[in-house]
């Protein structure tokens, strides 16, 4: 599984560009630490990166750049908003994705990454046909994906997402800007109990929003997951705390400092 490297300087960036094999797909994520959607995009990208093998020569290279600190690089790629994704191969920009749509990001990366299983399927169908398709065109980016496979991939993605942090909150909006009363209350409870948690704004990703309801077999948000298991929504959390005020103790900031 691949990991994301944080680029710390222009020099490191130049060196990376110079040393990358021509076949490697370079996935560059521009972020700003103060922008909440970026934290979410980080989770999405980490989950995606984990699905790509760290082979040699690398088929994919994943890097993250602080758009404000390394502003020269941002300017080169015309980064006007964050999060911003740039896909590069052999020095050429293949595609850019602006904003926090996880679906768009995933589609763009998968289209250009030439995943080996998809390549295998394409070549076998070409061999049987009477015509020879010239270049190995892997997949039409806009062609409908086999729904079974799409569902499987979504399930896998969700399985990783719920484990992105020991305590994961799937909410409407963000902790600094909740978009719903129940989400706001749950954030307040987590804060009162000094809980360390990861969050996902389901308003920003409709695929996760609908998919997680099915995956969790739970119809509403917010949803709190602990250690990869669904605990429940606001009502349940309030009741658990009522029964045991130390419910969150193992996940609090003090616990990790100890």
């Amino acid at each position: 599984m691949s990991k994301i490297t944080e680029i710390e300087s222009d020099a490191q960036w130049e060196q990376l560009l110079g040393s990358l094999p021509a076949s490697t797909l370079l996935i560059v994520s521009f972020h700003a630490p103060w922008a909440a959607p970026c934290a979410q995009m980080k989770t999405v990208l980490e989950t995606l990166a984990a699905e790509y093998p760290a082979n040699d020569p690398p088929s994919t290279k994943w890097v993250s750049i602080n758009a404000e600190e390394l502003s020269d690089i941002s300017e080169t790629y015309d980064v006007t908003a964050v999060p911003f994704l740039v896909l590069i191969r052999n020095g050429q920009v293949l595609e850019t994705v602006s904003g926090s749509s996880a679906v768009k990001v995933r589609t763009a990366i998968e289209t250009h990454a030439n995943r080996t299983d998809a390549a295998g399927a394409a070549t076998s169908s070409v061999a049987n046909g009477p015509e020879q398709v010239a270049a190995p065109k892997v997949e039409e980016p806009s062609a409908p994906v086999d729904p079974e496979k799409a569902k499987e991939e979504l399930s896998k993605r969700l399985a990783d997402l719920v484990k992105a942090a020991p305590v994961m909150l799937f909410m409407k909006g963000t902790p600094s800007g909740p978009q719903c009363g129940f989400s706001r209350q749950l954030v307040a409870i987590l804060r009162e109990n000094s809980v360390k948690y990861g969050f996902f704004n389901i308003l920003a990703d409709d695929e996760v929003r609908q998919g997680l309801k099915e995956f969790a077999d739970w119809p509403t948000y917010p949803q709190l997951w602990i250690d990869g298991e669904l605990v429940g929504g606001l009502d349940i959390i309030k009741e658990e705390l009522g029964n045991d005020p130390d419910f969150f103790k193992p996940y609090s900031v003090e616990a990790s400092a100890a």
Binding site: C180, F182, D217, P219, T220, G232, L234, D235, E239
Partner: protein
Amino acid sequence: MSPTESEIASSLSSHDALRPISSVLVKDVSGGCGSMYAIDVASAQFKGKGLLAQQRLVTKALGDRVKEWHGVQIRTSVPEDA
């Protein structure tokens, strides 16, 4: 309860997985908009089950309706004589 509230309450009462329901209260808390309900249910079926499992029985019984709502507040309890 309003007609919709009663209708929801009776569909819960007649739902196999929740029977026997000793008490059910459905309240529209969306200011009459029919988009958010607070539901209190007491049933012997909840005995011995975790909170999540109890609430799941209720959401399953509510079925597709929940999809149209903005939210739902569920309070489950086990009747004393269960």
